[in-house]
Symmetry: C2
Subunit: 209 residues, 2 copies
């Protein structure tokens, strides 16, 4: 079970701060205030200070934060100071798009396996990873020490594939299928349902006046 009590929205913001700090460092910025971080992200500076305060005291009053130090701390907090091994299950359009998404590799997420049931996909190369067949799933998870499984199979296949990933030792699931998936409580799970995102927009548009 989870031992922390950090709101998910805070974790999402921390990951956005880390991206902005990374951009600042590339631009040669050495120190930054909470106001400057806040402005670059579009939240209040009080929110930035509150989010960081969960993890300690990082800045100096009147001076602000050293970009290098704060980025290093956020990298550790987010668990990005190590490599995570990913498997993508389902090499259709979405799975292929994710396999080619540069933002993963840049941040320590390494796609080690891509798996599909379609024999026409098996053997194809997606950004340097060759698509393997579904019957190899368990072997690939173990061989590549996969931590995170990304589900891009059709809804009716999603639970079965998830069960196999969990059984094979995956610790987290990123679910792109519209299916609600059941996992044991020690498995970390996050749903990215593209239609849900549009429904939330639809709700907000309908109640926007």
């Amino acid at each position: 079970m989870k031992a922390y009590k950090i709101p998910e929205a805070t974790v999402v913001r921390l990951s956005i701060y880390s991206r902005q700090l990374s951009n600042m460092r590339k631009a040669g910025v050495e120190t930054v205030s909470s106001e400057e971080i806040a402005n670059s992200v579009g939240v209040s500076s009080a929110q930035v200070r509150k989010d960081l305060a969960y993890f300690g005291e990082f800045g100096t009053r009147g001076v602000g934060y050293r970009v290098d130090d704060l980025l290093g701390n956020l990298t550790k907090i987010l668990g990005l100071n190590r490599e995570w091994n990913l498997a993508i299950i389902g090499a259709g359009k979405l799975g292929s798009a994710l396999a080619l998404y540069e933002g993963f590799r840049q941040r320590g997420f390494s796609i080690k396996a891509i798996i599909d049931v379609d024999e026409k996909m098996v053997g194809q190369d997606l950004a340097g990873v060759v698509v393997d067949s579904l019957d190899k799933l368990e072997n690939l998870i173990k061989e590549h020490d996969i931590n995170i499984g990304i589900i891009t199979v059709p809804a009716m296949e999603a639970q079965r594939v998830t069960d196999r990933l969990v059984e094979a030792g995956v610790a987290a699931i990123l679910n792109f299928s519209p299916q609600v998936l059941r996992v044991p409580p020690d498995i970390v799970m996050r749903n990215v349902d593209l239609a849900v995102n549009l429904k939330v927009l639809s709700f907000n548009l309908s109640h926007n006046s």
Copy 2:
């Protein structure tokens, strides 16, 4: 500005309930209890009742909810009793995957335009929609009465494209680029940053013990 105070997590759950109810109706189920809805989604029945209570009294004590009625009410609440017109800006792998995503069309989201700056993409057919060039953006938004713009362009292009969409009259933005986008307060905005999703998983994995 927004006049409602419904938590976003509630809206996300309502959209999941509506999907489950739709599946139940297809399966011939006529009445359902909050416990049955809760079990199908993986939340508590108290959560289901609380989420629905924002919008009124839909069930009958001891009987439960009529699937048809509750689904109809959720459809109206979510603004899904009308068609929303979408434009996808950026016809790369991700934009193409979204254009072909069946879950959109099934729920009243109609992709009316796909726009790309790459002349090699222009003229290609993606699920019945022909890719148009970026200089047609304003005309296409007006011609097709586009409500929602989906941003799948590279980060450095995202703000400029968003400004043009807003200027042309789009009411909502679904942002798949890693860029934080600035929009006027009356524009509905939702970010789907795929790397942020992985960072949240990474955080949870690092603090999972």
